[in-house]
Symmetry: C2
Subunit: 505 residues, 2 copies
């Protein structure tokens, strides 16, 4: 076998393990019996360890070393075309990252992540931060240790963020967030002054769970989710996972008196799933078959959730169907009123319930706190106080308990520090991509009103999904939108949208 | 680490892989999207390959070689107690079996098994044996090859059977089957002459699926199935699998006009599951934490299905509850009539629908055919004809198509040749064990009528489940029942039972 064939074989095998790990995780959140948690932690940790050994093992290393200088990344082979070169560079990038982590550390971290996540579930249920505190303290320590191994950015936090959004820095994120805040805070203030103009009470009537489920599934299918190569289930926290592009699974969470939450989460996860289903199967196992970054991933979910699912055109198609499902509840609400209700802006305590505008303030707060934890040794014990103070400062509300405060998100429990910023980056990318798709696909938004989402999906498939990691995020946005990642299109979009919804001057 | 610690560590890791493989298999039969089959085959084959490498790898081999002569099985260490000696001998037995198989063969077989099983599903659905034929032909070839590697028994078929029922031989099975047949055929004839005495039409009224499901779950819980460490789902073919003793999963299959099938399959799988949940967690990963053999496993499932679930005492407890669920359907059927209906004997085409008596004829037929395929090169293309002829000879009915004939069982498609005999062996063991439990546990069957199954379960837990592979099957039956495996108790039980049900002279 040639060096390249060996590399691809080793990576394919690592991907089998990754697919298996995805199934273990999916099962843990959907169907696993409660008492199986300890055994599952062991299984996941073992698979993670195997995957690590595979990714830093001699077969891969030796073959890679034939083709590229492992220290400098300089190519030793001159016969590769552009895509092969990019593929090799990305493989090398992954290799370097993985090889910095000692095997024992990887195994310990995987075990602690699983245990700590289970502790978080209990702490959140019992509203008991003290129970979670030692787990989180250890996790923060391990993340600092991990940042030390990775040593990619200017600060430990930058090293962690780079795992999720390659080449992104705290400095760039701070700049973008500052730009957003400058325009977002006055926009939200303007809206607050006329908040009576939108009444969202229709969304909190009683809506039967089964009918909500059916409607959600029909919307998933409408936007192009392939049920022959995926499925939807219920879980405490909605997520998307993929064992392979032919097996992509989303979950949703339904509540009787909350029509908006399940529907938007269904479309959000559907956006992630469309990306995963659209990755090129022929490249499965290597970077050309993988998603670029979490920011780009989030651009897909936020696009289908917000730019599609909260658009007036979407509801021209969907509202009659929703009314047919819930004739009693929606009899006295016309489409414009409903659309406005779905788009209501209101400062709130919980990120996943937040509207499209205030959502980004939730992210900024987490970004600041994460940097304090990772770079500045802020004590975990004082987190609840810090959280609540920052909530008042950023969003103007104060959580009444930790379950709806510092315990609300799962991410930190399993060690995802540096992940949150990608949510807002996704918002920025999504508008930049969507604006371009609107130019490239004639009548795209009008077709939404007819229930036809194939124009947008085809554009995304061709320009983003099918390319895998053939482009870096910064190259992709430059190539597609003709400009660098920027907060301006996003803020222009928000301002224009809410000017209409709230009839602002 | 000591040699013994190394061995246990390696085996524990192999068990993690086995648990993962169990989940992959469970998912494939329950929730996996249809289009994910090809990717799943690759994942399963890869995990199987990893497991094989682990089980024949140098760390295990070298450590084992310190303690035992790999050729002769002679101990090289004298400080082990009885259980440790047994443990080591069983580990050695497994090692020898695994080490005879080349890694490429293991991987190829795993892949073909998955592909061939999917082909069988399609062939059965389409009633198209020709479609399945090449897959089965290749599988039979691979099984012959496997028998050649294993080379344990007098014939290739004996080598295959030994995988499922260690130390069992065709000769012993033939003897037992002959003994059963001698008494069973006249018994069935006697019953056929008075078959009008039992009317089973009540079982094929319309019974709502959801209510059947709820009743089945309540019966599972009544017999002691722990839902905190297990679950039940639906699948095309009922099965039980375990990712760990704390995560044991059964499935059932429900049909509106068939009350008996789902209920008995629920109890049957429940019996398997109780065994798996009762294995000692402290020994997880090594033979002392594993089930003895498929025959012993089947003794548990058949015991709960037949000796408990078809007993008059069980229905004293269960029938009022069933009547409460289905008052309209069961209004005019009293408990004795219902019990007789559940116990009706009637020659039929499909094994899994067969009654307790004729069931064993289905097994004998498969045993004969399997020997012809594996030992005598009987051509796969002529299987349908052979099957139908033997059905007429053994059971007196002739299938009208291959879906209800030679295609009815999944086993051959994934390579389980030598597996079927364990079903009848399980019947024999089950009566031998049950007779002893009845002696040891005062008032055991009376307590069934009060819904208390803890006497039997505790007896099984103490005497069978908790021992893992600490005894061989033949030792266990001798130790518990004071006699060797025998057909006589089983036939005594059947004759006595049907004398009552059919009021035979």
């Amino acid at each position: 076998m040639s060096a390249r064939d060996i590399i691809l074989k080793e990576l394919l095998e690592a991907s089998h393990l990754q697919g298996v790990e995805a199934l273990l995780g999916w099962d843990q959140e959907t169907y696993m019996p409660e008492g199986a948690g300890a055994a599952r932690s062991e299984q996941v940790a073992y698979i993670t360890t195997l995957m690590h050994s595979k990714l830093v093992g001699d077969p891969l290393k030796d073959a890679l070393e034939e083709l590229i200088d492992l220290q400098t990344g300089e190519l030793r082979i001159m016969t590769l075309n552009d895509q092969e070169t990019r593929q090799l560079k990305e493989i090398w990038r992954d290799y370097r990252q993985e090889a910095t982590l000692p095997a024992d550390f990887v195994s310990e971290l995987a075990k602690h992540a699983s245990v700590s996540q289970q502790a978080w579930v209990r702490a959140r249920k019992d509203n008991d931060f003290t129970f979670f505190e030692p787990f989180l303290t250890r996790m923060v320590q391990m993340q600092k240790e991990k940042a030390g191994y990775l040593a990619i950015g200017d600060t430990p936090y930058d090293s962690l963020m780079d795992q999720f959004e390659p080449d992104m820095t705290s400095e760039k994120v701070s700049g973008l967030f500052q730009e957003i805040r400058t325009r977002l805070v006055p926009l939200i203030q303007n809206i607050q002054e006329v908040k009576h103009r939108v009444n969202a009470s229709v969304l909190t009537k009683e809506y039967e769970i089964d009918k909500q489920w059916d409607f959600g599934v029909s919307m998933l299918e409408a936007i192009g989710f392939d049920m022959n190569h995926g499925r939807q289930d219920k879980s405490a926290h909605p997520f998307t996972t993929s064992t392979h592009p032919t097996d992509v699974r989303t979950t949703t969470r339904l509540r009787e008196n909350d029509l908006k939450s399940a529907l938007l989460s269904t479309l959000h996860e559907g956006g992630h799933a469309l990306y995963e289903q659209g990755l090129p199967i022929a490249e499965y196992g290597n970077p050309l078959g993988q998603a670029i970054s979490l920011g780009i991933h989030e651009s897909q979910s936020r696009m289908w959730e917000n730019l599609v699912g909260l658009s007036p055109q979407f509801w021209r198609f969907a509202y009659p169907k929703l009314q047919a499902k819930f004739p009693d509840q929606l009899r006295n609400t016309d489409r414009d009123m409903f659309h406005a209700a779905m788009n209501r802006v209101r400062p709130s305590k919980v990120r996943v319930e937040a509207d499209e505008a205030t959502y980004n303030l939730h992210i900024m707060l987490r970004f600041e706190i994460e940097k304090m934890l990772i770079n500045e040794n802020f004590p975990v014990a004082e987190l609840p106080q810090l959280w609540n103070d920052k909530m008042e400062e950023y969003i103007g509300v104060r959580p009444e308990n930790d379950s709806e405060g510092v315990l609300q998100d799962v991410h930190w429990s399993f060690g995802a520090f540096g992940y949150f910023p990608t949510y807002t980056l996704g918002n920025l990318y999504s508008v930049q991509f969507f604006n371009q798709a609107r130019i490239d696909v004639a009548g795209m938004e009008e077709s939404f009103a007819r229930g036809d989402y194939s124009g947008l999906l085809t554009w995304l498939r061709e320009n983003i999904h099918s390319k895998g990691r053939g482009r870096k995020a910064e190259e992709l946005v430059l190539e597609l939108a003709g400009q660098e990642l920027s907060a301006q299109p996003f803020m222009d979009y928000l301002e224009a949208k809410y000017r209409k919804v709230y009839n602002l001057s």
